[in-house]
Point group: C2
Chain length 138, copies 2
Amino acid sequence: MKDNLELLKSYQLKITPQRIAIVEELASHGHLSIEDLYQGLLERFPTISLATVYKNINAMEEKAFVQEVKIPEQKSKYELTKANHAHVVCQECKKVEDVVVSTKVILDEVKDVSHYQIDRDDLVFTGLCPECVVRQSA
Amino acid sequence: MKDNLELLKSYQLKITPQRIAIVEELASHGHLSIEDLYQGLLERFPTISLATVYKNINAMEEKAFVQEVKIPEQKSKYELTKANHAHVVCQECKKVEDVVVSTKVILDEVKDVSHYQIDRDDLVFTGLCPECVVRQSA
DNA sequence: ACTTAAAGGAAAATAATTATCTTCTGCATA
DNA sequence: TATGCAGAAGATAATTATTTTCCTTTAAGT
Ligand SMILES: [Mn+2]
Ligand SMILES: [Mn+2]
Ligand SMILES: [Zn+2]
Ligand SMILES: [Zn+2]
């Protein structure tokens, strides 16, 4: 927790109760949409404005403190920036999880085939989570 | 060209001049946003409605005739559905290109690590295209 | 405590998407 | 080839999403 606030500060983002709450929500729930965040914060800040959520997420994204995650068929999710990782999405229960995989092989192939210089990768794998797999076969 | 119209028909999509134009735009330009499409069609159909573009793209997506491609920092692009492939995006000139790479290795690793059953992958690699690389170092 | 730049909140402004309704047309059928 | 009709186009309104404005409040440095 402390780390995140320090980090916020280091990114020239003024520490406010609303921002602390946003960081806590993201830290504890992981991948949240704007609406998710707003609903979560409403409980703690009954008067918070949706514009505040947008403004803060945009500011934090600007400073690369949070990152947008675009997922097929879903609203964008936001998460605290962390080491590069891929995502798995369950098309049944909609949950989104991090997955750390080695990208060297595919990155090399992409560079080789495309002749692009690659600085970033966004990898999303969609399917069924273990729970929904069993539920489906039942 | 003919193929696409046959395909449209096979997807129970009625053939109209506007739809033919949408397919042609997508076939010749590849990855287009709603706005791109609208602007392109406006030249041929000065009275076309933006709603018509939305409705058609949605209908075609519904039938899996076209696919949405979500790209970081950009509006969604649409393309004619084709064999699964990844995308490279130039952060400088914004162009989007297809790239065919082998996904078996990474797919196996994702399945292994996450225990998800994976049905689909959306891979976007962002960087600099060959032209923008040289331009940048100049 | 004082000062000030920045942040919050409410509301307005924009942008994006969808819905409704009327007119038109692709296309199946006689 | 003529006819009927489901579905598509166009115009517009309505929703929904996102951003901006404006004024008040507050974090944080002095
Ligand atoms: Mn993540
Ligand atoms: Mn493509
Ligand atoms: Zn699931
Ligand atoms: Zn380029």
